[in-house]
Amino acid sequence: MLCLPEVNAAGLAGGTVQDVGIAEYSSKDLSLVARVHASQIVTDYERHGFFRIGLLPIAVADNVQLQISSAGCLTNALSALREWRQPSVGARRLELRNLEITMVGEARPRLRASRARIGNDSSLELFNVSSSGAEGQPVAFGKGALQIAGSSAGRLSWDVAGRTEELFPLNPKTKEP
């Protein structure tokens, strides 16, 4: 696979990188495997109580659009984005804000989240999530997790009254007969 940065008019100003894009193509046929775009990557700080803590900087990618050909591409796509957190010196974590995940060739995002954090267990922690079920019914919840690696990559899970619900919103859709 080929990984190519697509930094259009990228600028480094005051610890900010703007308009970041990374694309990954298949080495077989040069078809698009994954594309990540963020309007900017800036430094922010972890929130505790009512305050942002200057001791705990985080890198924040704003308006992240993730375009993938399959759920299995999530790991590489997010790893590529992590490479772009250089402005946030000392940042311990990458946070994605206004995240949209779209399948290659589709216009409508399969999943949206106002905030996402890469956890330590191959999962993406999501906040204020909206997606759709297998029958196309809308699903929305406050907090959940998306597996980004392994055999269950693409599994979206969240808790409802102590029960864990799950969904695979990035799976290929079956065609109408």
């Binding site: 305050f51 001791l55 000392g90």
Partner: protein, 509 residues
């Protein structure tokens, strides 16, 4: 002679480091170097030397405040207490703490035998409080332009500048800790940790038993600290308000230890309003909460040595709470506007709330009137028995009030016992079983949950009510099997998050 010279040289080398620091600034530099080397003990000692030479040096004071707090676990009293609690000595590194108390297979902390909960409050009052109070004095920064830049080596995280507002906020937190310790110390926590832990393990010990075995638990141990608690609370509020005002007025491009967060701004503003109302109530009497005009607060009674925490407790039956037994919904006049029903509803998320019946009364036409305390929106089954062994559901209801009155219009036996069972939170099914061909009710049909084995029979009208033991927080479906003589047995899946009523089940002959 040679030996004497050699000893002198060695002694001189040992003392060199001490004599080399001749000014407070030298000691501060030494202390910061120790901090960067992660040597908190030596750093604290160096800042102590600096304060000896310059007691009002703000930098020395704030560094000493921080390091004296961080060295608490390694001081003899703190270290011995941690050992008593079973925390291994290995791993007590403030920079990389890995010492944790032993746990059971379920991850629940083990209680060390022979340790009384009151040792906690004693430890806090005797050893921790003086250090906190000392740190508060050290943090009395008066220069609003004072700022201290910490390197990433010193913080072991990112480099950061700490200014007047940050120190005020830390100070407010320490005043809050003072208030907490004074308040806790006033209470009697005379109970063995093993007994308290037994409550969590849901073993043979119940809340009722713990309260019975420790009759002084949660009464006043002393009222000597209540005025100190009041002063600490007032100081905490005043200092927090000053810190908040300073932090929120900083230029937005300045990054400090604690920074204004516009996302949390509304919540923080509300928090300040509540603090102000609470503080004002101490001098001006009851205050209507600005953020919720339905509530009135008055914190003064809390410091007046009136009712104890134990006086506020409802009546426990095992680990369950008897509905209607909460003695004082104002908690000694501290808060007005909360109803007993609201508090019981809140408690119901954590405790089983038992309905309590008043003595039955005769009603017209040989009926019996039954009154129970109930919780609004909870669903109940009224069960009857003649021998206290076999119970049968006679009716079910969803409560609309804190008291529910029922009538048993046809008490068949000369004596009957009644009880109201709260099925809320469990998958519960209600409906009617009908004949497929005639549409008439099927009496005596057997309705059984295939997932937990609970069962019931339909009454003469074909009606049934089945309260399962399947918690709705875990289960969202059940498979019911319905059978009746002369009909084909059927089973169906039913879904719900609690009470599912109005089911119509048809049986084919």
């Amino acid at each position: 002679m040679k030996t004497c010279i050699l000893i002198s040289i060695i002694a001189g080398l040992f003392c060199w480091n001490t004599f080399a620091q001749t000014t407070a600034d030298d000691w501060i530099s030494q202390g910061r170097a120790d901090l960067a080397a992660r040597d908190i003990g030596d750093a604290s000692a160096a800042f102590t030397h600096a304060l000896t030479l310059a007691p009002t040096n703000e930098t020395a004071n704030v560094f000493y405040a921080i390091t004296r707090l961080l060295t608490l676990p390694s001081q003899p009293a703190g270290s011995n207490f941690l050992t008593r609690l079973g925390l291994p000595v290995a791993g007590r590194d403030i920079y990389d703490w890995s010492s944790v108390p032993p746990q059971d297979g379920n991850g629940l902390l083990l209680a060390p035998a022979g340790v009384n909960a009151s040792e906690f409050t004693s430890q806090l009052r005797t050893n921790v409080l003086p250090v906190i109070s000392g740190a508060i004095s050290n943090l009395l920064v008066t220069d609003t332009n004072f700022a201290l830049s910490l390197t990433s080596s010193e913080t072991t995280a990112a480099a950061v500048t700490v200014d007047y507002g940050d120190f005020k906020l830390i100070q407010a937190g320490l005043y809050g800790a003072e208030y907490f310790i004074y308040t806790l110390n006033a209470q009697n926590f005379d109970a063995q940790l093993t007994a308290i832990r037994a409550l969590a393990t849901n073993g043979n010990t119940s809340v009722q038993e713990v309260l019975r075995d420790y009759p002084q638990l949660l009464t006043f141990a002393t009222t000597n600290d209540l005025q100190n608690a009041r002063a600490a609370f007032t100081n905490a509020v005043n200092t927090y308000l000053a810190a908040s005002a300073f932090i929120s007025s900083r230029p937005t491009n300045e990054v400090r230890l604690f920074n204004y967060d516009k996302v949390s701004a509304q919540g923080e503003a509300n928090f300040r309003l509540v603090l102000q109302d609470l503080k004002n109530s101490l001098v001006a009497g009851p205050q209507i909460l600005a953020v919720n005009p339905n509530l009135t607060v008055d914190l003064a009674p809390q410091f007046a040595g009136g009712p104890t925490w134990r006086d506020w407790l409802p009546k426990f039956d095992g680990n369950a709470i008897e509905l209607g037994s909460l003695p004082d919904a104002t908690f000694g006049g501290v808060i007005y506007g909360l109803s007993r029903e609201q508090l019981e509803s809140a408690l119901s998320h954590r405790f089983v709330m038992l309905p309590v019946g008043a003595p039955p009364k005769p009603a017209a036409g040989h009926a019996v009137q039954l009154a129970f305390t109930t919780l609004q929106n909870h669903y109940y089954a009224l069960e009857v028995s003649t021998n206290l062994m076999a119970w049968q559901v006679t009716t079910n209801l969803t409560a609309t009030n804190s008291t529910t009155v029922l009538l048993d219009v046809s008490p068949a036996a000369d004596h009957r016992f009644y009880r109201l069972r709260d099925d809320t939170g469990f998958l519960t099914f209600g409906g009617v079983v009908l004949d497929q061909n005639t549409g008439s009710p099927v009496a005596g049909a057997h309705v059984v949950s295939l997932w937990d084995g609970t069962s019931t029979l339909t009454d003469n009208n074909g009606q049934f009510y089945l309260g399962t033991t399947l918690p709705a927080s875990i289960w969202y479906e059940d498979e019911l099997e319905i059978s009746a003589p002369g009909h084909l047995t059927v089973d169906h899946y039913y879904y719900g998050d609690g009470l599912v009523t109005g089911l119509q089940i048809y049986l084919s002959p």
